[in-house]
Subunit: 234 residues, 2 copies
């Protein structure tokens, strides 16, 4: 009787390797196979975060993903899922490295949809940069009855304006080339004074810059704007 | 020359002790003083989560907090802050245990406001139950251009209805005695079929119950409803 392997979606946090959970660390250091997305230039941020924990005898599955919106990424996930499925079918556990939290805007979710119906699957939550940024900026996000809105900067300007109107607290992720659009809308809505910019939170290259000092062309995809609550505690 | 101690706001996650980060574990097991909130009956959930990591020689500061909305909690935080300040002034590092993520609806934030201006302070992000619930429920939260709204069930019905109208994805926390109100509003808005209920996520007593099967009087404060995105990947 042959048993199939177990699939792990491993949240590895926003960048500081010490922000792995004890559970993610245990699984990462014990599975025979590790899979992770790579950019078209071969760079693999998720792997770089945990590089010190990976042992030479562990097998690795780099999964190239297109980070261009022009192309469908589905064939890439199909291919990655099949590579992973081959290991699982052979009885080997596979951990997929997921930056931040696997279930939140994560590329793992596309593998999850393909593989969870076929193999035993466990998702290990990770520290999301959306919240870790608050710790790095030193500001509470929400108090008491506040509502928090998390949204990608890739939304159309009208939708962004609509979603940001009257927010208690907000996090706007994936800034990159959308930075100027977001900054202008925050200005229109009177939110710019409260807005805080941070990129690569918890990574060695983390930067916190006053929004008015930022050259829009420097804003990266790995940057976000946090608008903390104004609620006063009582 | 005497040096003051360092204050840590330590995110310890939603309940599974293995969901502490490596960093939180390192700090927790090395500081001389640990502080944590307690209910009026003396129960301390945060302490219970990490009980196996605490050593007898570590000093403990239980901080009673009123979990009743009728009373202001500010005098309790004043008192807790002064107890902590006494240790910090004497040069001892203090770690405050925070369930979930310290900066998100956390009681730590009230200590942070009082102590961070006076003492070196570091916040260590933790796994929030708002996201960990998705892993336990086995559902992705948000894809691509989705907006995620996180809100407390304690909002007035009109505000809840307003905030939930047309959401892409939502997490409604602190259900408790507000469960029926939330369920009725989700029904009105056509969101009930997508809504998933989970309580005490990742704790040994975790329960996942179909909403229609839940006795409203059983809903706890430590329960939430997740409405996952309907966006189809492409």
């Amino acid at each position: 009787m042959s048993e199939v392997g177990r699939l792990y979606g491993l949240g590895i946090g926003p960048g500081d390797p010490e922000l792995l959970t004890l559970k993610a660390h245990r699984i990462l250091t014990s599975v025979p196979v590790i899979a992770y997305p790579t950019l078209e230039n071969g760079k693999a941020l998720a792997r770089a975060i945990v590089a010190d924990f990976i042992r030479p005898e562990q097998q690795e599955i780099p999964m190239p993903l297109p980070f261009s919106v022009q192309r469908s990424s589905q064939p890439y996930y199909d291919l990655g899922a099949e590579k992973i499925a081959a290991h699982l079918s052979a009885g080997r556990d596979v951990a997929v490295l997921c930056e931040g939290e696997p279930m939140l805007y994560g590329s793992f979710m596309y593998l999850f949809q393909r593989l969870a119906p076929r193999f035993p699957t466990e998702v290990v939550p990770g520290i999301s940069s959306t919240f870790a940024s608050a710790a790095m900026l030193g500001v509470p996000i929400t108090f008491r009855n506040d509502v928090l809105s998390i949204m990608p900067a890739t939304l159309e300007a009208d939708q962004l304006r609509d979603r940001l109107q009257g927010v208690d607290a907000a996090v706007i992720i994936k800034l990159g080339r959308h930075f100027s659009k977001v900054r202008d809308i925050l200005g229109e809505l009177g939110l710019l004074e409260r807005a805080l910019y941070i990129e690569r939170a918890t990574q060695p290259s983390q930067r916190i810059i006053p929004i008015q000092d930022l050259n829009p062309e420097e804003a990266t995809y790995w940057a976000l704007i946090l608008i903390p609550s104004q609620t006063q505690p009582r």
